[in-house]
């Protein structure tokens, strides 16, 4: 079967403004969108640029806007879309476009760094002592957050980053913070929670739930942010 793809194009050397190219791809219902994009590259136009990695949704390389929704190209199949009309492939929103479907993810990774506290690090050595003890229940407290693959989809879907406050730290970094705050093995979490309260921090989140909707790993991102907010209120601002 033939499916038409409308692909966002922008070459910083040649183009002042982006445009769209249309490609008709011979494909199957069960093929990944990523497979289709690779067919475009290998058979029609090798200059179409996009990132890819593991090809099955664990490395987080190929988050794109597909028919308006942030999605992993390797996790979506042709049959997931109305393939009788055009499937529109665009770069993730919010980030600046470097070339075609490739965006500058530095702002994304920089946000993760922002929430790092200056703790003294443990030496990198094999240890004589045994592991920490952690109960199954304690692990469950933050287990949802360890599914994150840092694909950047949530930030690209967040109405706050997109429309209100581009400096907002964003869902992915908040999720990462949650992962540590709710890990029973970690002791000095107050410092981390104080960082979250800074400008453009956790209180900028207004629970639009868009991050949860688009997360390709089905993480309940908004719920984790709400839990963190509650903990900050209880631990840092207890009612007397």
């Amino acid at each position: 079967m033939k499916v038409t793809f409308k692909v966002f194009r922008f070459d910083p050397i040649k183009d002042e403004k982006h445009h769209y190219d249309t490609f008709v791809v011979e494909t199957k219902l069960n093929e990944r969108i990523l497979d289709c994009l690779n067919k475009i590259r290998s058979k029609q136009d090798s200059s179409v640029s996009f990132r890819m990695g593991c090809s099955y949704g664990i490395c987080g390389s190929d988050a794109l806007t597909i028919n308006g929704v942030p999605s992993l190209a390797c996790q979506k199949l042709v049959k997931d879309y109305n393939y009788t009309s055009e499937i529109i492939i665009e770069p993730l929103k919010f980030y600046s476009v470097i070339k075609d479907l490739i965006v500058d993810l530095d702002p994304f990774f920089k946000r993760l760094e922002k929430l790092k506290t200056d703790e003294k690090r443990k030496p990198i050595n094999k240890l004589e002592k045994r592991e920490n003890i952690q109960s199954i229940e304690d692990l469950k407290q933050f287990e949802d957050a360890i599914k994150c693959i840092l694909c950047g989809s949530c930030v690209a879907a967040c109405p706050i980053t997109l429309e209100v406050e581009p400096e907002f730290i964003g869902p992915a970094a908040l999720l990462r913070a949650y992962r540590y705050i709710f890990d029973s093995r970690i002791k000095n979490i107050n410092e981390k929670m104080l960082l979250l309260e800074k400008a453009h921090g956790i209180w900028s989140c207004k629970s639009h739930y868009k991050c949860t909707l688009v997360c390709p790993k089905q993480i309940k991102v908004t719920k984790t942010i709400l839990k963190t907010k509650r903990k900050i209120r209880e631990d840092l601002h207890p009612k007397t």
């Binding site: 070459d11 910083p12 050397i13 069960n30 990944r32 590259r41 290998s42 058979k43 136009d45 090798s46 200059s47 640029s49 990132r51 890819m52 990695g53 593991c54 090809s55 099955y56 949704g57 664990i58 490395c59 390389s61 996790q75 199949l77 470097i98 070339k99 075609d100 490739i102 993810l105 990774f109 993760l112 760094e113 790092k116 703790e119 690090r121 443990k122 030496p123 990198i124 050595n125 094999k126 240890l127 004589e128 045994r130 592991e131 920490n132 003890i133 952690q134 109960s135 199954i136 304690d138 692990l139 287990e143 360890i146 599914k147 693959i149 840092l150 990462r176 540590y180 890990d183 093995r185």
Partner: protein, 574 residues
């Protein structure tokens, strides 16, 4: 652009990050990766990391060492296997203290499960030795190490492709490459260079490996006139999703998954009566293909069934949630209700850049050291996995030998003065890029790559023979000729992936050729290398490591003995 560090690590997977973290305690270090480091293929490791913690049942490092050596069909260097098994528990403990969210048992200790070839009491019964975080073990270790790198402020150079190793005054003093974003040449001037570039699964049509596994470290090494070791030993994981090659973790079998042919027979009973589905991977991959070749594939097709239905939905979702989810996504199958079509998929390279147990690269059979050059992880060959790696032994290899490599590389860097770079090093990448962009040949990258992948899959798969290997070697020469007649359709400088793929293809061709030649020369069957024309293991002639070199005069192999200490080779039965 020239950056100066003490240690430069090429590749940001688990091996690279552990090495960098360790080295950063004593000197300046940076990680260079052709992708964002968090996308490295280590994230795809699912099932677990092996260590004889004994959290579930009695276990000893001696048993782990024995299993590793036997699993490797006695080609493992036993000094290295001993280090791996002895240091594994301390390394897992370190990972846990760094924050890796391991799954827990009811005592709150790290939970462990069975895995192929891991046994109690020198092969008696399966043992629970695999520590894991559901089926996201690699991903969670990577995330923990990545956060650790951020906290230690280790500079990460993402999306930089390396073209050449640099040598002067008889030692490695850096690397040269270019920024994939805009083709700017970049030189890293270092006291020591560590290669942590992973495997080359992409030279096969069907692989569990990501797009980045193109054997760049193998290419860099061969192009520098250095040798590779035991390249004929390639692991085909028995259970890739049919057609796609995506990995269904061995954990699926550890939790109770059963392999069945078209007669609904549990055929592993025939091939490994004792360990059955938990036999080592080389044995199961051959068993599956034997079933298929003898007409017992499902519906006459080239796959068998992996039946997970008896495990129960709850356990499946708790123990292997990722696997269950992508079986649903790609096959539209609920693994709880229907069996999963699987076939072997290229998974792992036991061979690689020869090193000693400190990660120092060796240049010949006399163990002469390449000064300033180190290798670690899948691209290296210590040799701990011998002729066939056991599941969960790769992650522990990365950590145990990553620590050792980080330590020795930083020591070397502290003790030695920096040697100056060769002249005009930036020009090396600049010229290579310009040459390819301006070249007006007739062959396309994609055409050659597809031919290479088909060739390797047809001629150098689980079963091999001299005639086909020899044909494949001729064919590779043709592909190399075509490669010298390349033309790129994209001549841009920003994220020109066709250009990068052209460089990668060069590495893939070099890697493939070294594999074919090593496989052609080894006239016996051992571990993952099975020759239908020489079906027996022959210790009197072949209990030795291969070294392969590739230069203008062609390919050349030499051999050197295996280090044997505790365990004399026995017939390998499971």
């Amino acid at each position: 652009m020239i950056y100066t560090y003490d240690v430069v690590v090429i590749g940001g997977g688990i091996a690279g990050l552990i090495t960098a973290l360790k080295a950063s305690e004593k000197c300046s270090v940076s990680v260079v990766s052709k992708i964002h480091v968090t996308r490295s293929h280590s994230v795809a490791a699912q099932g677990g990391i092996a260590a004889s913690l004994g959290n579930e049942e009695e276990d000893r490092w001696e048993w782990h060492m024995f299993d590793t050596v036997k699993g490797g069909d006695y080609l493992s260097d036993q000094n290295a296997a001993e280090i791996l098994a002895k240091e594994a528990p301390g390394c897992v403990s370190m990972l846990e203290h760094l924050g890796v969210p391991f799954s827990r048992n009811s005592n709150g200790k790290i939970q462990q499960r069975r895995f192929g070839g891991h046994t109690q009491n020198f092969g008696k019964v399966p043992v629970k030795r695999a520590c894991y975080a559901a089926d996201r073990t690699g991903r969670t270790i990577m995330d923990t190490l990545y956060d650790e790198c951020l906290m230690r402020k280790i500079p990460l150079h993402n999306e930089v492709f390396i073209n050449n190793l640099l040598f002067s005054e008889n030692q490695c003093c850096g690397v040269v490459g270019y920024d994939i974003r805009d083709c700017t040449p970049i030189v890293f001037h270092a006291k020591t260079v560590v290669l942590a570039t992973g495997g080359a699964g992409r030279i096969f049509k069907t692989t569990s490996n990501g797009y980045s596994s193109t054997g760049d470290g193998f290419g860099l090494t061969l192009n520098s006139g250095l040798v590779l070791q035991d390249m004929e030993f390639i692991q085909f994981h028995p259970t890739g999703i049919f057609g796609l090659g995506i990995l269904v973790s061995e954990a699926a079998r550890a939790e109770g998954g059963i392999l069945r042919n078209n007669k609904n027979e549990r055929f592993m009973m025939k091939y490994a009566p004792s360990l059955k589905e938990l036999a080592p991977r080389d044995i199961i991959a051959r068993a599956i293909l034997t079933e298929i070749n003898e007409g017992r594939g499902i519906n006459g097709e080239k796959y068998v069934f992996l039946d997970l239905r008896s495990i129960g939905k709850e356990t499946l979702l708790e123990k292997i949630p990722e696997v269950i989810s992508f079986i649903q996504t790609y096959l539209g199958i609920s693994a709880n209700e229907a069996p999963v079509p699987v076939a072997p998929t290229c998974h792992y390279f036991m061979g690689g850049i020869p090193t000693n147990t400190k990660g120092q690269v060796l240049v010949d059979k006399n163990h002469t050291i390449a000064r300033g050059l180190y290798a670690v992880g899948e691209c290296a060959c210590v040799s701990v996995h011998g002729a066939n790696r056991l599941g969960c032994n790769s992650l522990i290899d990365l950590v145990v030998f990553g620590l050792r490599t980080g330590k020795s590389a930083s020591r070397y860097s502290i003790k030695h003065n920096r040697v100056s770079l060769p002249v005009e090093t930036e020009k090396i990448s600049e010229n290579k890029i310009a040459f390819l962009l301006e070249k007006k040949g007739n062959s396309s990258v994609y055409n050659i790559r597809e031919n290479l992948q088909n060739l390797m899959t047809e001629k150098c798969n689980v079963f091999r023979d001299g005639q086909n290997l020899s044909l494949a070697l001729d064919k590779i020469c043709e592909l190399k000729k075509k490669y010298s007649d390349l033309v790129l359709n994209d001549n841009g400088t920003h994220f020109n992936y066709e250009l990068q793929e052209a460089f990668e293809l060069g590495n893939m061709l070099k890697t493939a050729e070294s594999i074919l030649y090593s496989a052609f020369k080894r006239k016996e069957s051992r571990g993952a290398h099975f020759r239908t024309d020489f079906p027996e293991r022959e210790d009197t002639k072949w209990l030795k490591h291969t070294l392969v070199a590739s230069n203008l005069q062609g390919l050349k192999v030499t051999y050197f003995p295996v280090k044997i200490s505790r365990f004399q080779p026995l017939k390998r039965k499971y």
